[in-house]
Symmetry: C2
Amino acid sequence: MEKRDVLEKIAKRLRIHSLRMTSKAGSGHPTTCLSIADIMACLFFEEMTYNIADPFDWANDELVLSKGHAAPILWAAYAEAGIIPIKSLMNLRKITSVLEGHPTPRMKWVKAATGSLGQGLSVGVGLAIAMKLGKSRRRVYVLMGDGECAEGAVWEASNLASHLGLDNLCAIVDINRLGQSEATMFGHDISAYEKRFQAFGWDVQKIDGHSIGEILRAFEWARQSKKPTAILAKTLKGKGVSFLEDKNGWHGKPLKDNDLMRALKEIGPMPEIDSKKFVKKPKKVKGPQLTKRSNFKRTHYEKSTATRRAYGNALLNLGKINNAVVCIDGDVQNSTYAEDFFKAFPKRSFQAYIAEQNMVGVGIGLSAKGYQPYLATFAAFLSRAHDQIRMAAYSFANIKVVGSHVGVSIGADGPSQMGLEDLAIFRPIPGCVVLYPSDAYSTEACMSEMSKHKGLSYLRTTRPGTPLIYDRDEKFPIGGSKVVKKSSTDKATVIGAGITLHEALKAYKALRGEGIAVRVIDAYSVSPIDGENIRRAVKKTGRKVVVVEDHFEQGGLGDAVASALGGCAEIVHLAIKDLPRSGQPDELLDKYGISAKHIQNAVKSLIKSRKR
Amino acid sequence: MEKRDVLEKIAKRLRIHSLRMTSKAGSGHPTTCLSIADIMACLFFEEMTYNIADPFDWANDELVLSKGHAAPILWAAYAEAGIIPIKSLMNLRKITSVLEGHPTPRMKWVKAATGSLGQGLSVGVGLAIAMKLGKSRRRVYVLMGDGECAEGAVWEASNLASHLGLDNLCAIVDINRLGQSEATMFGHDISAYEKRFQAFGWDVQKIDGHSIGEILRAFEWARQSKKPTAILAKTLKGKGVSFLEDKNGWHGKPLKDNDLMRALKEIGPMPEIDSKKFVKKPKKVKGPQLTKRSNFKRTHYEKSTATRRAYGNALLNLGKINNAVVCIDGDVQNSTYAEDFFKAFPKRSFQAYIAEQNMVGVGIGLSAKGYQPYLATFAAFLSRAHDQIRMAAYSFANIKVVGSHVGVSIGADGPSQMGLEDLAIFRPIPGCVVLYPSDAYSTEACMSEMSKHKGLSYLRTTRPGTPLIYDRDEKFPIGGSKVVKKSSTDKATVIGAGITLHEALKAYKALRGEGIAVRVIDAYSVSPIDGENIRRAVKKTGRKVVVVEDHFEQGGLGDAVASALGGCAEIVHLAIKDLPRSGQPDELLDKYGISAKHIQNAVKSLIKSRKR
């Protein structure tokens, strides 16, 4: 049998599976599967090589289905390849199945969750970088939709891919003309995409996405290119079924009984072919030897140091003992202090430029190949990548995000540069660790903990220098807290973290001068919060608490503490309650009510109150 | 005096002001001001026309300084134009001055806060659309940096601008080669930008950004174009001061005393010229007559209806009585139900395609010209525009954001499509109103309230249909709540909103069957939360509360209620505590612990507990 016949038969099988699965599930996107059936057949049964026994084999080519709503045909392809049973396809979207509505790595072959459009290319860039780092000669394929090319993240990724010369990266754009609600901006004007990818430094080829011959020749061509390649495939949404083909109004609609019968009849009987036989097995290769140690040598500090500076020191020393550590920075490495790592390990350092979305997506890709990416920018600008961070969680990615320049304490640069919502981004993500150290030593300790932790985590660092509070060997386990000041006569507990811990310590001193003893807690582990230790302290201090943080009132440390206390204490919450403005750090801490003076007053009012 | 001489003199004055201001402030970005001094002189004193007495005059040309860190020279230009006193420049970045570190509309001439890079072009697109809508023949200028062109949002905006044929939009890119930490991706390769903007459908001209003649000719050329125009200005960072010019390492560094002296000496004495005389006054024009009414005709409902469907109905009827209402949708208007408005008011409807960042930026621009934009997409994808939403708040923009398809109740599409962090995005923003209605009538009432409210607000809508609870005329004021079930023997209060209110009502019924009376509260106003009413109810029900929400545990309704109760009650919080997955809506509500059954059990455990 000729190669073309084989692949046409397999494509037909994929089409039939996709229609049946979505009809059975009662929801899903069959027409968007049909437009890529021929491309998927070529990818899985001719172009890509992979070891069906091991999704993590370094000998595998990698595929990211960026147009995640085409998940059914992805599952169908894995079934045809013999990776999952064909009968399991009928479990699509069931609560008991890993074959979810959009791909997630609950199905082990999926390297990144997709379904929020325009993110897959960044993940592909990350995978391609990882392969270069790991000296793999395998390739990365990203199958994208045309509609998602409206997302800016696609162009962030395109820029970086060509800048880094990622010739192992091949994007296939399924140009089926139709978005969800209407035609895309460019419809079937393939040249619109051609111009854009070319301008962004890619090699581009236009093909008929339903011609097996053209698809295979394009892959062959792509392998020869010295640049990242984009194959622009003109396709028809619903291809293969006359009443669906190229018709608007069928997005995300499975076929009902009669329509399904008609469609299947038109496609014809399931071709009898054992697709498994056509899977290309790879030659054995050795992946990179990654030593994932975390107990790096701590820096010695003698004076006030910014926690961002300590992050830079820790990252450098961690990098020396852990070659899985890679660093990506958004053109601020001289502010986040990633710059020392950049100098010491240029091959493991990636300038992401001012493109935070892509920075996170690249991190997801690197993590999927076993690397341990540290991504840093100003905390305020992490909001730019919130969707990618969200998807990193669903991707079970092991990425470490670092946000510097948090809160009004940055001062005169003004609100656009102040990270005041970063805790509210990371805290809600189930399983995400959020650490917020207050001095250089605790920062280094937190870095060590983050490195040990597998999964998404976030480190919050401060711009101004802060005095040393701890010893070099002090441990800061995830989920812990520190009682920094304590006596048997404490009348209230003051909880801070980062810069506000230092304000709390100033308030402690002033209150002591007035004969008022308070307990001071460093809640460096904002999530998980140390409920037990905090509850214990609070019970011993008259159930009166002041929480103070350099973050908006909602979504941060105050909420974490309130939720840990579950109604068992009287809480005064000092936080940023207005849209802030430019000024000097000290002025701003005071203006927005989180300075030592405000803590002092809050404690005094609180211990006078008789609410309880 | 020749025009060129005048502008060169003014440019010199702007340079001197920028250097002095930043040195006085002790922080800021003088070198990035110097690279655009000549462009700014041409813009403010030759190209743009504006009425210095009224920043909101429809006869004004509009400028967005997208590279917000060049704020000092923007303030200097306003001073030279006679809008603010020249001596006020020495208050740069002071806590008492509106001349902040990055521009905010605290200074009235600023139409959108900038400083998070790559956002200004979207705002410019919004302003340009507003001018077309308002039949203005004035123009919009967006002054961008080269580094920020790495942001995908720039390309989202570029696509839409050319798609809409915005010939009144002119971007000037200040290509000074240097980013913050090192050279940009393309350095002085101007053709890299040329290719990209051309591919995205713009007319492009390359110029020497320090030649007054070339700058003026480019503006002249741009006015003739039928497309949006990009003027690519090759410049030198630090231009005019030899030891700063084109040198890396000077980003964001003001000059210290000696350096300032040297620099000013090199530039020479302050040219004596009265710049004010060269401001071009516009001819009087009439702006659009916007009728901003909010009491639209309510739809009559007879059966279960999705709140997203009611949003669509309300938007249509609001649009009929309020011609300031414009609608922007991210290719999901058939899911958010913005589609009826799109059909009825095509000129006031904008397909933003799958580009949420740009959608919000465009909204900021439209709002700045007095329109009332409604922006809708799936709530999950609002995370994509979190940074723009943040900046909308600092822009004091009057935009109404609508997120549909929230929570696990969307069902089988899976986690990538579930809005589970949207409340945690909007709640922290000071002043932002967050409404979350549970039935069709309350949705329409909330829409009316949102329309009356001036400022950022968010409406959370649900995918599945929900039964009618209220009457058509019921009022839902911002900051309110509804006691939906109540008796004198209530043993606990159950607080829900949206879909979980219906689960709470099912639990109420089941509990009543067991002889247990509970109070049920609809907390439709999530922010501001109705603390008073909630505290009152809770006190009367044994201080026992169950809060239930289809949102991640942190940052949503539970945190809002806990903070309102301030420790005066025992709270059980039912929310999504794991990363969810695909399944049927009812299965998922149950699996993640927010179904009626879980509420029922929570109430029973709670009233048995003797904690208090």
